[in-house]
């Protein structure tokens, strides 16, 4: 069995506790307008032109995004930094794309990590079939669970899918006392309205009380330049980065309901 990986990043400091290796699985069922990983969306390899500079000269080289790897191959990469995980209580984070979209492959990875006593985090959109979540959730030490919008119509408009499954899965996981941290990509003009934040607060307040942390992920303009560099389609342009005042305000709103709030993950 092989899975499609588009990057493996060592010394990741913002994807869970301690020093981590983040494995990016390629392909996502969502289609967020503000997606900052344009290379993460497609479920197949893609080619692009890499421009290498050398003494002011440019060299154009055809390259592939995405690499089909076996579980064993990925585990070898993960285990390379085991000493750092031990020292820092870190581990591996599976991100995407949507890692659950490669369900069997991810299961294979999680089983081996559990056997090898490596802490696992899955960074997910929550858009996953319940029976799959049911089978796999006990293998995950920590969920980084993205919430993008509470209004289903707008959710569909901005991400291409309904938020019903996402919200239900979050409640379900929370009731099973899974270890969950919420992530909220703050995209000005799209999901930072007072109303949306109030609805989020209502949902979060009523989750099982172990879930009490949220990371605000401010939209970053780098998304655009990355898409351009890779020759990929950019979803939407002209989004502003949220200012510090706005972020401070949102932070306060979540602190009011007893959450600890991180900015930038």
């Amino acid at each position: 069995m092989k899975g499609l990986i588009f990057d493996i990043k060592k010394f990741a400091l913002h994807d869970g506790p301690g020093i981590r290796t983040t494995v990016f699985l390629k392909g996502c069922p969502l289609n967020c307008l503000w997606c900052h990983n344009p290379e993460s969306r497609c479920f197949d390899t893609e080619s692009y032109i890499r421009v290498d500079k050398l003494d002011g000269k440019s060299f154009n080289k055809q390259k592939t995004i995405g690499n089909w790897m076996t579980v064993e191959e990925v585990i070898i990469e993960i285990e390379k930094d085991k000493m750092f995980y031990e020292e820092s209580n870190g581990g591996v984070t599976f991100s995407g794309g949507e890692p659950f979209a490669q369900y069997e492959f991810l299961t294979g990875l999680l089983i081996v990590c559990r056997k090898k006593n490596i802490h696992t985090t899955v960074d997910t959109t929550g858009y996953i079939k319940r029976e799959q979540l049911n089978k796999i959730h006990k293998l995950v030490d920590l969920f980084l669970y993205d919430l993008k919008h509470m209004d289903d119509k707008l959710h569909k408009k901005y991400t291409g899918v309904s938020n019903k499954l996402i919200i239900e899965n979050l409640k379900w996981l929370s009731n099973r006392k899974s270890n969950i941290k919420i992530r909220f990509p703050v995209v000005p003009g799209y999901n930072d309205s007072e109303k949306n934040i109030d609805l989020m607060r209502f949902l979060l307040e009523n989750l099982y009380p172990d879930v009490r942390h949220i990371d605000l992920l401010p939209y970053h303009k780098m998304a655009g330049s990355k898409a351009k560099r890779l020759g990929l389609k950019q979803q939407v342009g002209g989004i502003e980065e949220p200012d510090a005042r706005k972020l401070g305000y949102i932070r306060k709103k979540f602190e009011e309901i007893g959450f600890t709030v991180g900015i930038g993950g």
């Binding site: 983040t22 050398l54 930094d81």
Partner: protein, 787 residues
């Protein structure tokens, strides 16, 4: 910092570096006018030491609390004509060069022309050394295969232990006299030599007491004239301190610092030993005085801070003595490599971190000056709080303190045969060099250019720069059938050049033992007195001579390029590669692109590549480690460059990793600048594949952008990163925290960045004082941007 310290610091920062003729004149006078015939060499040198301290100008600066300057004023730097002689042209270069200049006035020029140069020309220790080197050595030296540390500075590189904090010079003299009494002229055929050496030591101890007394006298005179009653009282107190130490053991914090400072001046006046001199484990030595002062109420943390800050300024007033000729390139800096050690372990193996360790970290953070340099020793027994505090200073981006692995240092020293107690009393000095403080003479002898040896191998024993056959004819590389044949050829050349270097070292060590004894330094380092033997002759308890390998990252990438493309993938032929190298890649853009971008590189936790690093390391270790030195010690290896990787790069043509002719090679054990693309954990994994315990120090430089240090959580994670590296026996890591944009701006507008200090290689320097190539290198060093 208070007003006094602010003024002293500012004065030190603004003082102009000048060349002082004072010492040169006194040394020349001595040899011209005093009758030295009939004196043994040690006594002759001891009398010279006394002559200098008796006649040099006593400089006491306004407001200071710790007194004593090596020259007539702060940053007035003496020369050592008995070691090396500056020509008039050298003086012009020093005066006018844009970086690391020393102003030379007309009077000095005139004195040099009329007195110094005529007397010393052809008669310096450097001349003596060069006359004794054979052609093989001279050829290799001129080609840049290695450098020679002792050609312009005396052997040194040692650190003071705890001796002076419990013994005055008078106590030490008693010990010397007892040793003289004990000499057995019937059975010991070295008894005369021992007596002369011990007599010389005695003379130098008397001289240092006299030197302090001269300060006391001047302080008393100043006190009489002083109008301000508070300062008057201070001056009187300082005079009393100078009358007490170094003659007697210190009893207060202030006395301990002043004592050390006189000793420091003595060592750097006697000769110009490499890497200045060093109080070493300052938080350990001063802690009893600190505690005592707090307890008896004569003293508080504020006073301790002020005294330490005044002490810091003294170091900054003493730049490294300037070199002559081309050697300036090899290590061009005002830094004289005094490295304050904090933390680590006590002699009994317990955690040595104390309140003073933290207080000194505060001083380092507040002072932000070039000298002294500082480091923290981190043992698994030291608390996390200690490394987190240090990281918060590192974060401010002036390259200090660097972080050392105490447990690795102890293992290194014990492996070399030291007692575990002596090892625990040790630490690192200079750039990253492990040593047993107070008991070891560990002398660096020169940098060794791994990559030049490869270039000579690829040219069948000929140096392409001079077209001289200086190596062995190991065969035409195009005929090599396997990668191992190339490795074997490289190894053969390496062994030959190491032999040449070691032969030279053994001659030079004897020359220094016979002609340049250092009786004062010998007073300080155990067991020179007990052995009745000079520091330079093997009198110390432990004697080690190092050869410093340079360019591990580059040689690994060069060998890997050949292995990968010529022998494994077979997509480039050796003949084609050699042609491209000869053409300096002109017309070979595509090939060069392949070598730079499509070739595995060291520093990415890739076993295929890292294997070459291990092979190079093992060959170097086997060639050097354990061989006997002329002083009765052993040769050992370490891996550090100072700035020699720039010089070494300048003598090498294009290389198989895509590097063009003349460009720097990699520094320390760090990957080639920009070749590490997998982040710091991968770099650490790669460099930990070599066995650090078999060295006397390795240098790893990691550049981080400041945002890595922004949160408490990240500080903790960086602490974890260091701990993990140290679990793998990593010796040292330093962080350069600054973003490339800042540096580029500093390059364009140097006037706005007078205080910008960056980590160069085992030491920090003012960015503005670095040559443009070194500045560019620091800019291009990989920035680990994080997620």
């Amino acid at each position: 910092m208070n007003k006094r310290v602010r003024i002293l610091r500012e004065q030190s920062l603004n003082a102009i570096n000048r060349l002082s003729h004072e010492r040169a004149v006194l040394v020349t006078d001595y040899y011209q006018n005093q009758n030295t015939r009939g004196l043994s060499k040690p006594v002759e040198r001891a009398n010279l030491f006394e002559h200098i301290l008796k006649n040099k100008y006593i400089c006491i600066n306004d407001l200071e609390l710790i007194v004593g300057e090596r020259g007539p004023a702060p940053k007035a730097t003496p020369t050592y004509p008995e070691i090396t002689l500056h020509s008039l042209k050298d003086l012009d270069i020093l005066d006018s060069r844009p970086k690391v200049s020393f102003k030379v006035d007309e009077k000095t020029r005139k004195i040099y022309k009329e007195q110094i140069i005529p007397f010393w020309k052809g008669n310096t220790n450097r001349d003596r050394i060069m006359q004794n080197m054979d052609n093989e050595w001279l050829d290799a030296y001129e080609a840049g295969v290695f450098t020679e540390f002792q050609e312009q500075r005396a052997p040194g590189h040692t650190v003071l232990g705890e001796k002076i904090y419990s013994q005055g010079m008078v106590d030490i003299q008693k010990e010397i006299s007892e040793q003289i009494e004990k000499l057995d002229f019937y059975k010991d055929n070295n008894a005369y030599n021992r007596r002369e050496e011990l007599k010389a030591m005695y003379i130098t101890a008397t001289a240092l007491i006299m030197f302090a007394e001269r300060h006391a006298k001047k302080l008393t005179e100043l006190a009489v004239e002083e109008q301000d009653s508070k300062r008057k009282e201070e001056l009187e107190k300082m005079a009393a301190i100078c009358r007490k130490v170094p003659a007697n053991a210190p009893e207060t914090f202030h006395e301990a610092l002043q004592y050390y400072w006189f000793v420091h001046l003595g060592v750097i006046t006697e000769l110009n030993p490499w890497d200045s001199f060093n109080p070493g484990r300052l938080d350990q030595h001063l802690y009893p005085f600190y505690k005592k002062g707090l307890k008896d109420g004569t003293f508080d943390t504020e006073k301790a801070t002020e005294l330490l800050q005044c002490f810091w300024v003294k170091f900054n007033n003493h730049p490294s003595p300037p070199k002559i000729g081309v050697t300036a390139q090899e290590s061009n800096t005002y830094t004289d490599f005094t490295l304050i050690n904090l933390g680590g372990l006590k002699e009994d193996g317990s955690d040595a971190v104390n309140e003073l360790s933290y207080l000194i970290l505060d001083v380092i953070e507040e002072m932000r000056i070039l000298q002294p340099s500082s480091m923290v020793q981190l043992s698994k027994k030291n608390p996390d709080k200690f490394i987190h505090r240090a990281l918060k200073i590192i974060k401010t981006g002036f390259g200090q303190p660097s972080v050392f692995n105490t447990d690795a240092i102890i293992k290194e020293l014990v492996r070399q045969g030291k007692s575990v107690e002596d090892a625990r009393n040790g630490g690192a000095s200079g750039c990253v060099e492990s040593g047993a403080f107070g008991t070891e003479a560990y002398i660096l002898t020169g940098y060794f250019n791994f990559n030049k040896v490869l270039e000579i191998t690829l040219n069948n024993g000929t140096d392409p720069a001079t077209v001289k056959q200086i190596g062995i004819q190991t065969g035409d590389p195009t005929k090599f059938r396997s990668f191992n044949e190339l490795l074997d050829a490289w190894k053969e050349q390496l062994n030959r050049f190491i032999d040449i270097k070691i032969k030279g070292n053994n001659i030079i060590e004897k020359i220094n033992a016979d002609f340049m004894p250092v009786p004062f330094l010998s007073v300080l380092i155990d067991d020179c007195i007990k052995n009745g033997k000079d520091y330079n002759a093997g009198g110390a308890r432990y004697n080690t001579s190092y050869i410093q390998g340079v360019g591990l990252g580059s040689i690994t990438d060069n060998l890997t390029s050949v292995r990968y493309h010529v022998f494994d993938k077979k997509d480039i032929t050796m003949a084609e590669l050699l042609k491209a190298l000869k053409a300096n890649y002109r017309g070979y853009d595509e090939l060069r692109h392949k070598l730079v971008y499509e070739t595995p590189k060291f520093g990415n936790d890739d076993e295929y590549t890292d294997l070459q690093a291990v092979t190079v390391f093992d060959c170097f270790y086997d060639a050097v480690n354990g061989r006997p030195t002329a002083r009765g010690g052993e040769f050992r290896i370490n891996l550090l460059p100072t700035t020699s990787h720039i010089y070494f790069g300048s003598v090498i043509g294009a290389m198989p990793d895509g590097r063009k002719a003349g460009k720097p090679v990699s520094e320390g054990i760090s990957p080639v600048q920009g070749a590490d693309t997998e982040g710091p954990t991968a770099v650490i994994k790669s460099v930990a594949r070599i066995d650090h315990i078999k060295t006397g120090g390795t240098l790893l430089n990691q550049k981080f952008s400041p945002d890595f240090f922004n949160t408490e959580a990240n500080i903790v994670k960086l602490g974890n990163l260091i701990r993990a590296y140290f679990r793998m026996d990593g010796h040292h890591i330093q962080f350069n925290v600054v973003d490339a944009e800042t540096l580029k701006d500093a390059q364009k507008n140097p006037e706005n960045y007078r205080d910008l200090i960056v980590r160069v290689a085992g030491y920090s320097d003012y960015f503005n004082d670095l040559g443009e190539d070194l500045q560019n290198e620091i800019i291009s060093r990989t920035e680990h941007g994080g997620m």
